[in-house]
Every structure is written in C-alpha cells, then in structure tokens.
C-alpha cells in the first residue's frame, strides 16, 4: 500500500497495537412500502415521484408503522441470536439537515427491538464470534445532489437538489459490541462479518443488500490500544464504507494511520472520518464532541410496539437454515473440499455458486467460473463479485453451451466479456460476436489437410506412432480457425487421416 508520512505499515502496527473495532451496518429493507407511509420503495425512480405528505414531512401528516418492516426487524434480530424486546418504542433523533424532511429522524434510542445477540463468522476456517449490541429500526433520509462542486460534494457546490424518494425507506441498524481479539486479522474479520451479515440477510429475504446501491452501508469504528492493555483507546468512526473490499481497506488504513499518530506520541482525535474509494484513505470529517446533541425523546406520534411471545415464536419458525449449517450441507452436496468451500465463502460467492448449480451447472464448473474468471474481473474493476452485471443463470447458460460443445472455455471468456459489457444474454452475445465453434466437418477437414500439408515432418512422426506430436497440428488448425473450433474434434480428424 502507499505509505504517507506518518503511516506505519499494517503488520508492523499490529506488533505494537491491538485493534478494537465496532461495526454499524445500515440495511434497507425491501418492503413494498416505506417505514411510515404507503409510498413505494423501488430504487432508481424519477426524483420525488415516490413521496406523499407523510414522507415529505408536510405539516399535519402523521406516521403509521409498516408491520412488514417490524416483522423483518424481529427476524433479523432472531437470526442474530438477539433478545426481542416485548415492548419498545420509536424515538425522535433531532437534527437539522435539508434531506431530512421533518428535521428529525424517527429511530429507536434506548429501547431497540432486538439486543444482546451474537453471530459466528468463518474467518479462514476459524470460527470468530461477533457479539451484537443491538438491531433497531429507523427511517432513511432523502438524498442531496450537490451541483457545481468538483466531485459532487457540498464543498464548492453552486446549488443542491433534493430527492426525497429514499426518505422514509425502512432501515435496520445492526451494531456490534466492541470486537476484540481479532489482532492481525482485524481487517479480514471485519470483512468476513459484513459478508456473513449480507449472506444472512439475503437468506432471510429481507433486503437485496446491494452495497453499490446503498441498500447496505457500513460505518467502521476503530481504536488502537497497546498490546496487553485492557482499556480502549480513542476511536474514530469512518462513515459509509460501501463495499466488502472497502471495509478491509478502511480498517487497514485506519490501523496504519492511528499507529502512526500514537507512535509519534500524539493523541487520536475522536472524529467522524470519510473513506475514499479511489485512494483507500480516510480523511477527517466533523469532530465528535458533546455539542452534538440529538435530543432524543420517545416519538409521541407512534404507539409502542408489542412483540408478543407467540408472534416472536411464529417468526422464529420462519427463519432459514443458519449459514454454517447451510454451508455444511452444500459442501457435502457438492463434494467440495474444506479448502474449496473456504475459497467460495471467502470470495463472497456461496449464493452465486448455489444459484448457478440450481440453474443447471455442475458444482465444479460453477465454482471454477465464479472463483477464477469472475473474481479476477471483479478485482480488476474494484467491485464485489456479486456486483458484476452477470447473473448465476447467465453463468449456467454459458457452461451449458460449453457442455454442448457449442463453445469452448476460451470462447466462453469472450461471452463473459460480452455479457459484462451489457451486450445481452449469453445466447445473444454468442450470436452477435460469432463465437460459436466451427462444427462443419468439411471446413475443419480442409483446415486439417492444409495443416498436414504444411508440416509433413510432423505428419510423419504421427504416422510413426508418435501421437503426442498431434498437438502441433491441432494448434495450427485452431490458429487458422481463430479458436472457434472444438479441439477434440480437430484431434479426431487429424488422427483419422494419419493413423
């Protein structure tokens, strides 16, 4: 990584310091309607078309709780082994911001719906237990679009536009207790936790969990303390770390930065920091002081939520298989080794492989494409593999064409290119790019004859029984056919003529 003055290398930093992390993850629920009104929640609609008096905060409008969102919140709490509050309230978090219609956010404060849980995360084959402090319900804000500034930031902007479509979309905020003991694996643990959470939420069917669309957002709290010390150091909170890779990078950077500051005898400023995807660095935002006072109080426009024991048990019965149980089951079904499973999970591709297999592909082929070809491309473009513009069904479709001999692995890579470039379905890409292998024996035969005529010495070797020499002729034919030939068929044709 780039080293700025004052930064200490990650590994070196961890010889002296012990990192303590706290992760706050916001998840947008994919309920049909918003948290407190009947407006739709779909992503990408024309600005300010999914609004009403309630989510615009017009005078006199009142909120009504979305029962489906409460149900999702309880299910998330249960999946995280939390206690569910038999009685809880919403609270108002008061602060002024233009994209927040009421200038208070309806959230939960000291009475979260779910609290005191834990979840078990696989980190390189080890199980790491992350304690959950709470999961609470709240509403999202609108979005500000700053116009005229350099990078869409408010600084330097000429004016700002406000889109309230997102205002009032249900959010669940999941907060961990301080994560201690991760040591040198802090960044991996954090990444694995977020990946695990995403998998869990997907399996619950409560959110589409698309980090690139902001439906899952992560804030990373981090502090360092000298190895062996019990009390926590001063923490920073890095906001909106919005991909798995960024979670890892943000932690690595903050560890290096804080170690540099502490190593120089200076103190960490308790502050909000921003992560920059382009540089992998964090920069200081506003300083967190006592001046930030949200004046929480119970939301008087809403009545308390009572989660009866019967209801909670009913919801518990709807929970899907726990991720670890599910992984064990899939491993057995696929006949995969521990190492192979670890690779799949580590790449965040478990669901992708599972869905590709479900779409008809063999487990081996599904794993091969997702872990090699597609992971490489994801890394090249700096996104998560799940964020690539290709579906498991596409991958299964490409493999089916390989299995049918219509394309080979090399041609398949061209099909991936086309699908990822938005050129259409695998079938459409094959047709448009002319990627199908030549299966016309007359054309292939002619090419084989030309290759034999061009290399009589090689042909003689084969005639003499050195079948391995056929490779050179196959290569020549494939070259002439620009790769669009079935190498097995070419081999057959060569051998039938020379042996």
């Amino acid at each position: 990584m780039t080293t700025l003055p004052g930064l200490v290398g990650f590994d070196e930093a961890l010889e002296t310091f012990d990192p303590v992390m706290g992760l706050e993850v916001h998840v947008e629920l994919d309920t049909a309607t918003k948290m407190f009104c009947g407006c739709p929640t779909g992503f990408g609609a024309e600005p300010n078309t999914q609004v009403c008096p309630v989510c615009l905060g017009l005078p006199g409008a009142l909120p009504v709780v979305n029962g489906a969102a409460v149900q999702s919140a309880i299910r998330i709490g249960l999946a995280l082994n939390c206690s569910i509050a038999p009685w809880c309230r919403f609270a108002r978090k008061n602060y002024f911001y233009p994209d927040m219609p009421k200038n208070f956010q309806t959230s939960q404060y000291d009475e979260p719906i779910a609290y005191d849980g834990f979840t078990e995360v696989d980190v390189d084959g080890d199980v790491f237990r992350v304690e959950i402090e709470r999961a609470h319900m709240e509403e999202d804000t609108g979005k500000s679009l700053h116009v005229g500034g350099a990078t869409g930031r408010i600084h330097g902007a000429v004016h700002s536009l406000l889109d309230y479509n997102r205002a009032g979309v249900p959010l669940i905020e999941i907060v961990t207790k301080p994560i201690e003991g991760a040591g040198a694996r802090a960044a991996q643990v954090a990444r694995a936790y977020v990946a695990h959470l995403r998998e869990l939420l997907l399996s619950l069917g409560v959110s589409d969990v698309r980090m690139e669309q902001g439906s899952m957002r992560c804030d990373v709290n981090l502090s360092l303390r000298p190895v062996g010390q019990q009390t926590f150091g001063t923490r920073t909170e890095t906001k909106n770390v919005n991909s798995l890779r960024s979670v890892e990078r943000a932690i690595r950077f903050e560890v290096s930065r804080q170690a540099g500051v502490l190593g120089a005898g200076a103190a960490i400023v308790q502050e909000t920091r921003h992560f920059h995807e382009d540089t992998g660095e964090t920069t200081a935002g506003r300083v967190k002081t006592d001046a930030e006072d949200y004046r929480y109080f119970p939301e008087p426009d809403l009545t308390p939520i009572e989660a009866t024991a019967d209801w909670v048990e009913e919801l518990r019965a709807t929970l899907p298989e726990a991720p670890r149980v599910r992984r064990a089951r899939l491993q057995q079904a696929w006949g995969a080794s521990d190492l192979e499973m670890r690779d799949i999970v580590g790449a965040g591709a478990l669901i992708l492989v599972e869905q590709t297999v479900a779409a008809g592909s063999s487990p081996q082929a599904a794993r091969k494409w997702w872990l090699s070809e597609l992971t490489r491309r994801a890394n090249e473009t700096g996104v998560d593999v799940s964020e690539l513009a290709i579906t498991p069904a596409d991958v299964a479709g490409i493999q089916a064409m390989v299995d049918a001999g219509r394309i080979n692995d090399k041609l398949a890579r061209g099909v991936f290119d086309g699908v990822l470039a938005g050129e259409g379905t695998p079938q459409e890409v094959v047709a448009a790019r002319g990627l199908e292998v030549v299966s016309d024996d007359a054309a292939l035969g002619a090419a084989v004859d030309r290759a034999i005529a061009a290399s009589p010495d090689v042909a003689d070797k084969i005639r003499a029984g050195k079948v391995a020499a056929a490779g050179a002729l196959i290569g020549a034919v494939m070259k002439e056919m620009r790769g669009q030939a079935d190498a097995g068929r070419v081999r057959e044709l060569i051998l039938s003529r020379l042996t």
């Binding site: 009142l62 008061n94 200038n103």
Partner: protein, 509 residues
C-alpha cells in the same frame, strides 16, 4: 331583520331541522353566514380566510344530494368554520403564522374530509395564536380576534377565532383544537360551548402538531346538543393516526338530556378558590346548586398533583413543539428568507434566516424552552420529571374517578381580559389554562359550557366537566341538563345577552 339574518341565529340543530324539512336550503344558510361574516368580521376578525365560492359550491352540492333523496348526515348543509391549524386541500392553511403564509395543503385533514363527506360547507379558516401557542389570539401573526362581548377584550386562545365566529353568529359550528385548553378556554370567555374529546377520540391526521401527545380537535358550538352532533361526526378511528383509538365513538347523542339522579359530581379543590375571580366563583357555586337540585351528589375531591400540572405542561409541550416545528425550514414549503448580506447562502443559513423571520416571539420562546428541556444533561431533570408528574396526574384522575362520575371546575380563573393585559407577562398568560391543562396531560375529555355573567364585568364565565377517557358521553349528560336548567333561569341562551355587533361594512378590514 331579514329572514337570512334569522338563519344565523339558529342553532346548528335547528338549522339542520329546517334543512331536512325543506324550509330552507344550504345555499341560503351558507349565504346568510357569508353575509354575516361580511357584515361583522371587520370588527371581530374571527376569520383568516373566507372561502365564499367554495362554501357556496359545497352548499349547492349538498342541496342537490338532498333533492336526489340521498340519506344525509343530520348536519348536512349546516356551514362550519375550521381552525386554521387543520390542513384543508386547496384552501390556505397558515396556523396563524407568517411561516405558512400562502401555503395551500395538497391534502385534507381527516376531520375536514369527514366534514366534506357529510356535506358541511366550509365557510373558511379561523384565526388563532401562532401554531396554537397562546390564550388570547394576540399571538396571531395576522392580528388578534376580538371578543364579540367586548371588542376591547380577548376571545381566548388559541382558538379565539373559532369561538368568536360562533359567538358572533358568523358560523353555527366550528372546529377547534385543544392542547391545554384552546377549545374550552375560548368557549368560557365567549359564552359558547367547547369540547375536547378523549385523546385519540378524534383523528389528528392533518392537524398541524403543536404537542403531539396533547393535541385534540373538537367541536366549538353554541349548544351542547350541537357539540354532540359534531363530535359524533368527526370522532372515531382513523388508521392514518396511530394514536387514534380503535373503538366506536362514545354514545354522546344518547347521553343528551339524561337523568342526573345519583350522579357523583366531584369538585376539584385544586381547581378553584384562590386566584379565581369572585364572579366566576359565584356562577360556579350556583351551577353546583342546580346540579344538586337535578339529583346529582356533589363530592369534594383533592388532586394535589394538579398544582404541578402547569409546570409539567410547559416542559412537555415546548419539548414536543421544538421537534414538531423543526420541519418549517424553507426547504419544501412555506416561507423562504435569505440571510441578509450573504451572497450564496448555504441551506443551513436559509433555514436559520427563515426561522428567525417566520416565527413570532412566543413560538421562539417555546422552541428554545423545549430544545433546552430535551438537551442531554437536562432531559431527566426537565422532560423526565415532567413525564413523572404527568403519570401522577393520570393516577389522581383515576383515583378521583373511582369516587366520582365526573369532575367539575370553573373553566378559567377569570373572564376575558383586555388586549395587552398579559402580553408582556408570559406566566400570567399561561395561568389562564391552569384548570384546563390537567385533562390534556391525562388524555381525558372535557367540556366547557357558559354558566352566566360575572357580576364585576358582565362577561361570560364557564364551567368545565371532565370525565374518564372514552366516557365522553358523561360530559354531554351533565352539560345538556345544566344548560337546560340555566337557560330556564335566564329565559334563553346566554348569548342572547351579548351586545349587538355594529356592522363593520365600510370600516374596512
């Protein structure tokens, strides 16, 4: 006096009977009230907006429905005035504030929706203290309403406009809202009837929130029966208000003119005595005698925490208000003011400049109070303690209602005071609501009705009846009997003794 003037002197019940009998039309009745408004409102200033065309259109529509033989609500065709705190689609809604000057809501409050569906033409929007903060309408950004009994005096507040409109025969019915007495106190000082229903009994959807846990809309009328009819119309569950009670409206109409024999009437020690004007006390004592004669049993009850009600109220209300009023930020609706001398102001600077220019002094005072009371480090001492007092008050109501069926007190300590008398002394102003506030804190219903004129100044005073939550019918049971007995003594309604208002035509508005 023309026949149209006669229509304005009728109670809503009488007018409804004539409409049902075909003796008059809603267009005639509505026009009569519009004429009355044109004639006297220059003096009274009960209205902030009069919707002549809209009201006549609605009147015509209901006349047609009646002609078609449609089964209509008993109050169909009776015009009504609505406090400017309720959102009215297509009609200005200012809440008495510069902040909302020119704002036209894109939606109707549930109460307004119910009025329209029942065919009550809406005459216009009535004046009020800004965002319902005040007891005199002197805090309206558009100038005060004057008391029809004496144009030099306040009509009460915050709903002085609704009460004065009804008292001045500009409307037979009005909608008010009551957070700490804003329906009942104006009723008492204008000689009219006002009811604050049980909290949750009438939908708050579309009612611009002052203090969400205290606000309640209710009827403003000249008779107890009219109030019951209006209460029955606007009450009942609304799924758009989470605090709305999912139960039928209490049987307020069946309760009218019942029998008081054996009814236990509690007189609250803490809501009377010292600080109450002698004339107000005298009328109150006489009313107790009438109730006794009607068969009721008078019981003295003590509710010691009621003496802390005012203090608790002035922490809870500003706390909630400071948050409720945060949305007035110039971003989406209402006033927008740029800060002076700033070239390219930020959103925050525009918010601050707008709020500085748009809110009046009383609103700012309460926002500051509430912001302080909710602040970290002060929350427990102020908001937290106030909530504890609130709980105590609820418990004392419960205990009192264990021994009594209803509680009574003078509605206000004094009759209407002169303009400016308490404007510079917020505490003195707040004390007007000392008797009405406990009901809001506990969510119980209350009714104020006129009980005569104080000897010292010849101005109306009122008696307040309080009942347990969702026992609103008891208010009407007591109110209707006491009203009948008093009117028998007076030989007619108290408002008959109010001075005739001079025409303001030519005076200008």
């Amino acid at each position: 006096m023309s026949s149209e003037d006669d229509l304005t002197r009728l109670s809503a019940t009488e007018l409804a009977e004539r409409l049902a009998a075909g003796d008059t039309t809603s267009v005639q009745a509505t026009q009569a009230h519009l004429d009355r408004i044109a004639d006297v409102d220059g003096n009274v200033h009960a209205f902030l907006h009069v919707d002549v065309d809209g009201a006549l259109e609605q009147a015509d529509a209901v006349d047609r429905r009646r002609a078609d033989g449609e089964l209509l609500h008993p109050l169909a065709g009776v015009p009504i005035a609505v406090k400017d705190l309720l959102a009215t689609k297509g009609m200005p809604t200012t809440c008495g504030s510069r902040m909302l000057e020119g704002w036209i809501p894109p939606y109707d409050a549930t109460v307004v929706e119910r009025l329209r569906a029942a065919g009550l033409p809406i005459l216009g929007k009535t004046n009020m203290d800004e965002f319902a903060m005040g007891s005199s309408t002197e805090h309206s950004a558009y100038g005060p309403t004057r008391n029809p009994w004496d144009l030099g005096r306040i009509p009460g507040g915050s709903g002085g406009g609704s009460a004065a409109a009804v008292a001045a025969y500009e409307a037979p019915l009005a909608i008010g809202t009551d957070t700490g007495g804003s329906i009942r106190q104006p009723g008492a000082v204008t000689g009219t009837v006002g009811v604050k229903p049980t909290y949750g009994g009438v939908s708050r959807y579309g009612l611009v929130a002052l203090a969400s846990s205290l606000d309640q809309a209710g009827p403003v009328t000249r008779t107890v029966r009219d109030a019951a009819l209006l209460h029955d119309l606007i009450g009942g569950h609304d799924p758009r208000d989470s605090t709305s009670i999912d139960a039928p409206v209490p049987p307020v109409l069946d309760a009218l003119d019942g029998d008081l024999t054996g009814l236990r009437v509690g007189v609250v020690t803490e809501l009377g005595g010292e600080g109450y004007q002698p004339g107000v006390r005298a009328r109150f004592e006489e009313s107790l005698e009438l109730l006794t004669k009607a068969g009721a049993e008078i019981v003295e009850v003590s509710c010691p925490s009621f003496t802390k009600a005012l203090a608790a109220y002035y922490l809870i209300l500003p706390s909630e208000a400071s948050s409720n009023l945060a949305r007035f930020d110039a971003m989406r609706f209402g006033l927008r003011v740029g800060p002076e001398g700033v070239d390219a102001p930020s959103a925050e600077q525009v918010m601050a400049a707008t709020r500085a220019a748009g809110f009046g002094s009383e609103v700012k005072r309460r926002i500051i109070l509430g912001t302080y009371a909710l602040s970290s480090g002060y929350y427990d001492a102020y908001y937290g303690s106030a909530q504890k007092v609130r709980t105590l008050i609820s418990r004392e109501f419960d205990a009192a209602f264990g021994r009594t069926d209803v509680l009574v007190s003078p509605t206000t300590p004094t009759t209407a005071f002169e303009f400016g008398a308490k404007l510079d002394d917020p505490l003195a102003m707040y004390l007007n609501d000392v008797a009405t506030i406990p009901a809001n804190l506990a969510g119980v219903p209350g009714l104020s009705l006129p009980i005569g004129l104080a000897d010292e100044d010849g101005l109306p005073s009122g008696l307040q009846v309080l009942a347990p939550a969702m026992a609103d019918d008891r208010l009407y049971r007591v109110g209707s009997v006491l009203e009948r007995l008093l009117e028998e003594q007076w030989g007619g309604p108290l408002l008959g003794r109010a001075p005739e208002l001079a025409s303001s035509t030519g005076v200008g508005r």
